[in-house]
């Protein structure tokens, strides 16, 4: 995460968000499949978006995935040496492909 923050200091035109595509590997480890091209529904505004197009904020201790339409939190993931903590309360649902991890 430090690398992105270093960039932000270099270039004020760059903000702290990236597309959730960037954390596709971590999401695959959590959900068991690549979900970047899968739809998920924001529990707040009910917009359905491809997970890879959601916004990710990487400055905190974990990863926060937000709805691209209303900016509310959809997913929160924190990795510790012992476990991965996943908060999915901001999502109504998420489609997890059964196979073909490469979409």
């Amino acid at each position: 995460m430090e690398e992105r923050i270093a960039l932000m200091r270099d270039d004020p035109a760059v903000d702290l968000t990236v597309d959730a595509n960037a954390v596709g590997g971590m999401l695959a480890a959590v959900f068991g499949a690549d979900v970047t091209a899968s739809p998920s529904q924001c529990a707040t505004c009910r917009t359905v978006s491809m997970v890879g197009t959601m916004r990710v904020y990487m400055r905190g201790p974990g990863v926060v995935v937000r709805c691209p339409a209303c900016a509310e939190v959809v997913l929160r993931i924190v990795q510790t040496p012992e476990a991965t903590l996943v908060d999915v309360s901001g999502a109504s649902w998420i489609r997890i492909p059964r196979q073909a991890a490469t979409g």
Partner: protein
């Protein structure tokens, strides 16, 4: 199918610009990738501390068993200085991937193709350009590429070479922080007028892929939709300088 970690062996290393370097990773168990996808790299210290970063794949899928990643050195970063200063051919690194099913272009999707890159945002687009050259050289393709200075243009010679084939691949450069004498390209940040000129020969049937810092990607995505491209044909990837 879960994506597991596998060991890559570093092959050749070469400099693209003074701060950007390409690493060829040998991956005997690689399942193959689609142009635009990325991989995760994990480094683990002796005390067990580990750090992961996501890097776009620069190479075309036609090269079995190996991939290239192109990495910009970020001062104060945890991985990129290590890659630039410590890693030598023969070293082994942990890799997970390929990842990403959204920001992908393959020959079967056809064209015309408008690719728009800011800085190292060119990396996943280069995988598409190389794939096109190998498998779909008739697809009309234009790359609009914003760099800060001439010396910071990543893949400059290779792009010139591909464009010189005159088979429908063109590169439009813009330099935002200084131009060499006699520069004939653009000399400003990408704006809607520039996008209109880049898009015009391709027409409203084009597929567009834009990758770079968030501010650039927003300008490109909004501009292309205003110019008439359907939103579902404008694919974007916003990211920092080190990969996705």
């Amino acid at each position: 199918m879960a994506i597991g970690w596998q060991l890559a062996t570093v092959g050749s290393i070469h400099d693209e610009t003074p701060t950007v370097r390409t690493f060829t990773l040998g991956l005997p168990g690689w399942s193959g990738h689609r142009p635009g996808q990325h991989l995760d790299l994990r480094l683990t210290a002796e005390d067990g501390y580990s750090v992961e970063r996501s890097y776009s794949i620069a190479s075309e899928p036609e090269r079995p068993g190996e991939v290239d990643i192109t990495v910009e050195r970020i001062e104060g970063g945890e991985i990129s200085p290590f890659l630039h200063e410590v890693v030598v051919p023969g070293d082994r690194l942990e890799v997970r991937g390929p990842i990403g099913g959204y920001f992908v272009w393959e020959a079967a999707l056809g064209g015309p193709l408008l690719l728009v890159a800011g800085g190292s945002g060119v990396v996943p687009l280069m995988a598409m350009v190389r794939h096109r050259a190998r498998s779909a050289p008739s697809v009309p393709t234009r790359l609009l590429f914003s760099s800060r200075t001439f010396d910071e243009i990543i893949y400059r010679d290779e792009l010139d070479g591909l464009a010189s084939a005159r088979n429908g691949f063109e590169v439009l450069h813009t330099l935002t922080r200084g131009q060499p004498p006699g520069w004939t390209g653009y000399s400003r940040r990408i704006d809607e007028a520039m996008l209109a000129e880049a898009l015009e020969p391709l027409g409203a049937e084009a597929r567009a892929y834009a990758c770079g810092p968030t501010a650039l990607v927003e300008v490109v995505a909004n501009g292309l939709v205003r110019l008439g491209l359907p939103p579902d044909r404008v694919r974007t990837e916003r990211f920092g300088p080190t990969g996705t």
